[in-house]
Symmetry: C2
Subunit: 244 residues, 2 copies
């Protein structure tokens, strides 16, 4: 049996779903990684993914480059060949990741404060609304993780989007989603400490209203820093994923 198949029909090249494959590949693979279907540390084979997504290796390959760009995929650098793996989730990586996000958001927050007072009030209102939603969920003992995560994300995005320029925004967009991996994996434990984060949010809102840039920056940094420590504690208990 020949390893290379003789195509029975020379005709009919599949219809090259023009312009959507790359996008699709990117989002679907990211989804697989974020949801843990592709487990951290595991080894990626282009052809397998291509088969799974029913497309050729080309867009998959490009998508993997994008994912590498965003840190979901890591180049296991041997020689000159690329060997990609799903980026492992380690305590150390989480530490750096959260620290970077904290600083990026801090920088954005600082610029948010530079906005005119009217705009700031509006933002604060929006933020309060999100934070209250979180509080409600807490008191209702409603622990739909995905829902909580979305609200928390909205909170932070509101700040970013009002303060960051295009470049910082892009940076944040590429870094922040990675926190979701940790979130998902340790969600139930993180939620236990949610009330702490909610309080920290209050402080951030107050600082924005007060127009104190330093305080906003500190508040955001602390929120992530503390989140990181809470996460680290959980990782200590449950172990890392994908680092061996």
């Amino acid at each position: 049996m020949p390893t290379r198949v003789a195509r029975s029909k020379p005709a009919s090249r599949p219809k090259a779903d023009h312009g959507n494959s790359l996008r699709k590949a990117f989002y679907e693979i990211r989804e697989l990684i974020v949801h843990g279907r592709l487990s951290p540390g595991s080894w990626i084979v282009e052809a397998d993914l291509a088969r799974h997504l029913s497309m050729s290796r080309t867009p998959v390959r490009s998508a993997l480059h994008w994912l590498q760009r965003e840190g979901y995929v890591t180049e296991h650098k041997n020689a000159r060949k690329s060997r990609m793996i799903v980026t492992p989730l380690t305590k150390e990586d989480a530490g750096e990741l959260y620290s970077i996000i904290g600083h990026v958001e801090g920088l954005a927050g600082r610029r948010t404060v530079a906005l005119p007072k009217a705009a700031r009030t509006e933002i604060a209102t929006k933020l309060k609304s999100y934070n209250n939603q979180l509080r409600e969920i807490l008191s209702a003992r409603d622990s739909r993780a995905a829902h909580i995560f979305d609200i928390d994300r909205s909170f932070h995005r509101t700040i970013i989007e009002s303060g960051a320029g295009p470049r910082l925004l892009a940076l944040h967009k590429s870094i922040e989603p990675q926190a979701e991996r940790y979130w998902r994996l340790y969600a139930s434990s993180i939620i236990n400490d949610l009330h702490l984060s909610v309080s920290e949010h209050d402080e951030i809102i107050a600082a924005i209203v007060a127009g104190d840039a330093d305080r906003v920056e500190r508040g955001l940094q602390m929120n992530w820093e503390n989140g990181c420590q809470r996460l680290a504690h959980v990782i200590d208990i449950f172990g890392e994923r994908g680092s061996w």
Copy 2:
């Protein structure tokens, strides 16, 4: 007529310089952009580049994705097709870029200060050496821009490499080279103000020796912030490139 072509000569496909094309494409194209051979705002055609580098479009394409990742190339987002352009150099972009670099370095500097005193002294010595080289060049009226740039870069890299973790390091590696584009374009004018930067470096070194994290962070941020303002002034005079 068969849809699939019978190649006139079945033989001799060029030898697929395995494992080096992408790398080569990436660095060469980046070189073209940084040196301004591909001017800011101009429009990129994959096939042209491929011809120029004597390789197929495939690695060029990947390289462009990498360059997009690093911000050298921008997606001129129409419909679903990508249309890449060389990222324009604007005052506004410079402002954000420098601000981000300043914060990233500040964060790294903060962690550098956390090192034991012996290590810090060693770093300080290295930094002083670089800064003295700058001073010598200044007093010698030796204005080889490339040389000056290299030394300044070494100065900052020393701090980053001692303080940053892998993630922050990667981030810095991808952002910082972009400053070079501005540097090169406005080099002669920037050099006129070099003495200011040198003084700021002194302050940074002193702060590292003193072990004052806040002061190091502030120093680095200010160094970039001020650099940005000096640059903005020059851009005001000579105009932006590639934004129209």
